[in-house]
């Protein structure tokens, strides 16, 4: 099953990317090449195998932790906003969303 330019446009939109026509063409070829490689996975019998999301899950003795839901870092608003493209009075600016 080969991807079409329509698939590329849909995925690009989901990923909030904008591809030029020549990029769409190139990415289409590369992704189709890639999914030919991925098709090898179909031949592996995985009946009854649990997905492994994370290596820690097989290190039996080591549990993934949750910490208490409390702020543990000091407020660094100014330092954190120093690299922001547009800030005003401590707020991040974005284009108007509500007309």
């Amino acid at each position: 099953m080969a991807l079409t330019p329509h698939d590329i446009a849909r995925v690009a939109s989901l990923a909030r990317l904008e591809l030029r026509p020549d990029e769409t063409e190139r990415v289409l070829g590369q992704l189709n090449g890639f999914f030919t490689l991925v098709a090898q996975m179909e031949a592996v019998n995985t009946d009854g195998v649990e997905p492994l999301a994370h290596p820690a899950a097989i290190l039996g003795s080591v549990a993934l932790r949750l910490r208490d839901d409390i702020a543990s870092e000091p407020n660094q608003r100014e330092a954190s906003q120093r690299s922001a493209p547009a800030v005003e009075r401590g707020l991040f600016l974005v284009p108007k969303v509500i007309e």
Binding site: L17, E18, V44, I58
Partner: protein, 511 residues
Amino acid sequence: MSANFDLHDLSVFDLAARLAGGQVSSVEVTQHFLKRVKNEQLGAFLAVDADVSLAQAKAADVRLAAGERTPLLGVPLAHKDVFVTRDFPTTAGSKMLENYRSPFDATVVNKLGIGPGGAGMVTLGKLNCDEFAMGSGNENSAYLPAKNPWDLSRIPGGSSGGSAAAVAARLIPAATGTDTGGSIRQPASLTGITGIKPTYGRCSRYGMVAFASSLDQAGPMARSALDCALLLSAMAGPDLDRDSTSLDLPVIDYATDLIAAYARNQGAAAPKYPLKGLKIGLPRQFFGAGCAADVLQAVRAALAEYEKLGATLVDVDLPLTELSIPVYYVIAPAEASSNLSRFDGVRYGHRAANYTDLNDMYKKSRSEGFGDEATRRIMIGTYVLSHGYYDAYYLKAQKIRRLIAQDFQKAFTQCDIIAGPVSPTVAWKIGENKADPVANYLADIYTLSSSLAGLPGMSVPAGFATSPAGGGMPVGLQLIGNYFKEAQLLGAAHDFQMATDWHMRQPGGSV
């Protein structure tokens, strides 16, 4: 310090001893390396700030003068540019973060650094890498390709290519790297240095710009196993409040046993077979037709040396080795597409100059900020996670990931460590493999499976290519250990390095 003495030829261990002995100051050492870094032609550095480095060196000298004697105090290093730093810019090799300045330091940076509780190392700057650590040749850096000091027309490997090039050229005694699918081991192999990726979770990921969170792991790159052991001892350890995947295991001193082994080997009672009893498993799948003759020759010669040291070699099977390529290239891009969604042009990172509305701003900012490889992986990841394809690709890959991890456990019932090549080829020419990025993924075949399983692995200099096409380039031997067995890996590498001098070789010519 004698006038003709080259500080950059000293190991981390020897530099630290001279600093502790008062023969040289950290400021002198730092100035020496800064001079080398300033003139470098390798594209290894993305950021240098002599004032910052010298201030850190002065602080180290104050601690030395006060009598502090810790193993790394005053020794310089540089960080791969995916570790965020307050005192230097952090770009992750991407235009997306061109003007980014982190408000905090990564845990690894803190642990190694001059601040309170840190090991007291001096940061010389930030090192080039593939954009968001995605690549095997450092050619995906948005800034400039890094070059291999053994042949400036060749890649140094990737993604930690700047780290590898700088250490191999003795611009710095050691560096940090990160390894998601081989990004410490492969560049170490291709530049003839030593690097270790510890067990997933050994080092905190806090402050590492995230690529694939279930795979990313930090590790040291240096010239010897002993130097790596010194650095890893300082980098590793639990970071319970800041990284939920950091392992809650005690910090281990990886270096003391290695230093003792040195002493033991000097004495009259030096053991003839220091590795007696060690069983090394050779996966059949790592020694097949896909591996260059130059690489196989050097790896087999290194294994013969291991036999001389008392180790025994046994054949093992890792039947899904080839499958690790599609499995990795489904899982890693899936996680990457999620991680890189944070770059929206709002809180930090590049924002397009012109756009029509919020959605258009996201799209234009992201498309302008990400390079080709990051874009490709975001596309793959978004597709495999999208409705209707999740089960066939992402879930299927995760199931095979478990089978791959189980195969390793089966193999480890027959052996203590697993060995083979790191990369199927030596370093290739810059630009040579750019046309077909998907074909490049195949070159990661020997490093991906242990990454998927979360196992520790390292690259140890094992010789050089002897064919004309190989250009005399370095070859690394890969050692893979079972979970938490970094000490065993480092010990096996150290014994090999006491018997061989591959790790002492250095590139000729000027850098």
